[in-house]
Amino acid sequence: MTHSENIDSETIYKTDALIAEDIDAYLEAHQHKTMLRFITCGSVDDGKSTLIGRLLYDSKMIFEDQLATLEADSKKVGTQGQEIDFALLVDGLAAEREQGITIDVAYRFFATEKRKFIVADTPGHEQYTRNMVTGASTADLAIILIDARQGILTQTRRHSYLAHLIGIKHLVVAVNKMDLVDYDQAVYDEIIADYTAFAREIGIEAFTPIPISGLAGDNITSKSTHTPWYDGPALVEHLENVEVMATANQAKPLRMTVQWVNRPNLDFRGFSGQIASGTVRPGDEVRVLPSGKTSTVKRIVTMDGDLDEAVAGQSVTLTLAEEIDCSRGDVIAAADAPPQVADQFESTIVWMDEAELLPGRSYWMKIGTQFVSVTIQSPKYQVNVNNMEQLAAKTLDLNGIGVAEIATDRPIIFEPYEDNRDLGGFILIDKISNATVAAGMLHFCLRRSQNVHWQDVDIDRAAHALQKRQQPRVVWFTGLSGSGKSTIANMVEKRLHALGKHSFLLDGDNVRHGLNKDLGFTDADRVENIRRIGEVAKLMADAGLIVLTAFISPFRAERQLVRSMLPEDEFIEVFVDTPLAVAEERDVKGLYKKARAGELKNFTGIDSDYEIPENAEMRIDTTKMSPEEAAEIIVDKIVGSWSYTI
């Protein structure tokens, strides 16, 4: 390991002597430090872990025993011969230590005399867009590492694009391993010229280039004597002086997302949250969204006493002079400059799950402290992160990035992500697996969302139902192909008809040829198929009908979606439970045979999943019951539980 002699480093990192001399002065100074979060991005061999290891090492964040372990590990698995392998200090989990690559986001800490730093260490490995976006989401600054011997690589472009996409304003382009190109200015200048051209292309307005060597320590804590031709700051000096996002946000109008209503007794009602932007003082006029009602801030309450002012980044509890409705998910904003409220948006989505995006399926969306149901349309295009080309796409796979329109099930309070990360950044959550499947950024609301007004109709669904003297129902038959859904549904409808009930049967015959003739059998199309059928069934139920549907409807999420469209008790899920072997044996339409022969793709039960209902209202075991018997008990369920109050 080459130690460069750094005279300046004493002013960046207090020496032990100074700490020993006057600890109170040290503490006083430390108390006023600010904090910067940054992310390092580089390819596998760009020396990222070495740079971070070096930053930790120089700021004395490595202790003697850790150093001993490090030295032992370096000899055992290190890549630097007998030298210390800084990368080992940084690479955490046992599995990846063996592979020699970082596979997740890790957070590191070091401090200088001016600042505390939190470093998100993210992998440069091909398939891990997800990790980089995650690490970048909380970063004020990104360091893009370029190997001086390699120049700009595909990964460099990708990392820069992602950092830009996530809205990082401060980019450092660190040309690393300068020691291996003999600190040649021409090499450096050429790389920076290339990068400047690329940056302009993708809309990066500014960046700070620095020639460094992580291994040798050049231009890290102090200006290196090896690069006299470079007149910019050393890396750490630059990191110490960049303005952090939280401070910049103070100049914007007030927004505070309400997390929790603080109600210790009847005399106190406070609204707790972290201020996303702006400042607030007692006496300020504020508007609570979505209600739009205004009030005046009475107190800023903290355990240390009331504050005269609070600023972006602080967690506080506000009380208001006038009692107005305000709960979790609401936003308290400057009265004269409130954020918008809408329910349809254009957004960029970064897909983070193994299971692809299913357009039309409903997901949970968390944005600020708002939690809503959302559906996503097929992407307008997907971005190839290697060359920023826009490609046509029907869906998004793991690590896919695309632009799509999304619709929430109720209006939400938002701001474009560019203006406010807290009110423009969101995550999507799968309703069944609970996994965080995507991150997204809202750009703008679509004008049409403000023009849709529900017509206030006098002849409402109750009136329709009353006229037909029946409770509307959606009886949803689900099961494998050939399980007997249509047979049983037909018998049910005949009996209902005989009883004078108004019904309608939706099945493949009357839906696939018309309404859904544009849909195939991919997962995405299956979701859309069911969504449309669900909407039609809902309209028919609104009209007072008893709707019977007979579709395989293999996915739990879509059945749940339809269920959620209807009042409780109106949706009856009937699971026609026929084992695959039995259905295949029957093979009424000869479809299983074709599927087995490979002539039919995406056939449920063969090469496409069927998710068994967990909470179906009825389960019909066709191996134990005839279709007639099944129809009988289903009709009893539909008509017998008539509970419509007139």
């Binding site: 700490i19 020993a20 590191r108 989401s137 210790p264 005269d308």
Partner: protein
């Protein structure tokens, strides 16, 4: 600390404080039955202090849980009762009945002691009360495998942690959705370092166990570790006799497993000064981490906090 708010940049401690409060409020709003694990150490003291701030003027809307091994320092037990009372919070104490019955202790049982009393004890307590979210005071700077842990860390119904299957954590949007039986461990101090903790205790005047300050205490030197003779259960080996030394602790656990350091630091600035000048990392004082390489990662997968 928040009194100094002006339109100037927030300090790093103000931002760390604000982040921890935000995290705690998210849990209070979204979890059904949260609890705060309280180990009586300095990190727990900071976490508890932040909880009081987060919900003021209400008391924190969850109880404290101490997973007791019966082998903590006597001064820790005193502090435990006082801290809960001062915060106006319910204090739940769990001692693994099986460990108690089998007389598991740190002298005879080594690693089994930690597993039975702490790991199994914790699981029992979480299951018993049906807690779906538990705050812990762990920090990412403590140990390499912790650096990759999320702030909201998911555990299966069997309390296992799967480092390869963690949810991405973006911005400050925490996904608290989970299936029945699953739970979340929440670490509001994730981004604090040991120095931040001490600095904050100093600034906020937080009450901590006196064992962190130097005093003359009866000790025994064994295997390079300085152990304190805290009660009559201490087992002397041949030739050992308690010797009064001026010592303090950088970290607190079961007294027969916790190494002291010789020190004259009797004030917080002196402790911080010693910490900054010291060359041994914090966990060195704990016997349990040295078992094997990557031992903490293994313990975490098994459900240790």
């Amino acid at each position: 600390m928040q009194n100094s708010a002006t339109a100037t940049p927030l300090t790093h401690l103000q931002r760390l404080e604000s982040e921890a409060i935000h995290i705690m409020r998210e849990v209070a709003a979204e979890a059904e039955n949260p609890v705060m694990l309280y180990s009586v150490g300095k990190d727990s003291a900071v976490m508890l202090h932040l909880a009081k701030k987060a919900f003021f003027p209400s008391p924190p809307p969850f109880p404290l849980l101490h997973v007791d091994t019966t082998w903590k320092f006597q001064e820790m037990y005193k502090m435990r009762e006082k801290a809960a009372k001062d915060a106006g919070m319910e204090l739940l104490i769990h001692q693994n009945p099986e460990a108690r019955e089998r007389g598991i202790n740190p002298f005879d049982h080594g690693a089994v002691h930690t597993d039975m009393w702490k790991t199994q004890g914790l699981k029992q307590a979480l299951d018993h009360y049906g807690f779906d979210a538990a705050f812990g005071g762990a920090r990412r700077d403590e140990e390499k495998s912790r650096a990759k842990e999320r702030i909201f860390s998911f555990r299966s119904a069997n309390h296992r942690w799967d480092p390869k299957n963690q949810r991405p954590e973006l911005w400050k949007l925490y996904n608290t959705q989970k299936a029945k039986g699953e739970s979340i461990r929440v670490f509001p101090l994730s981004n604090w370092t040991e120095l931040d903790i001490w600095q904050y205790i100093h600034l906020e005047n937080i009450d901590i166990v006196p064992l962190y300050f130097s005093a003359s205490r009866p000790t025994v030197k064994r295997d390079g570790m300085l152990l304190m003779v805290d009660d009559e259960r201490f087992r002397f080996e041949e030739g050992e006799e308690p010797v009064e030394r001026s010592i303090r602790f950088r970290t607190l656990g079961c007294y027969p497993l916790t190494g002291a350091v010789e020190s004259e630091a009797t004030t917080l600035p002196q402790i911080i000064q010693e910490m900054l000048l010291t060359t041994t990392s914090e966990r060195q004082g704990r016997a349990i981490d040295h078992d094997q390489a990557a031992s903490m990662e293994k313990k975490k997968q098994e459900g240790y906090f």
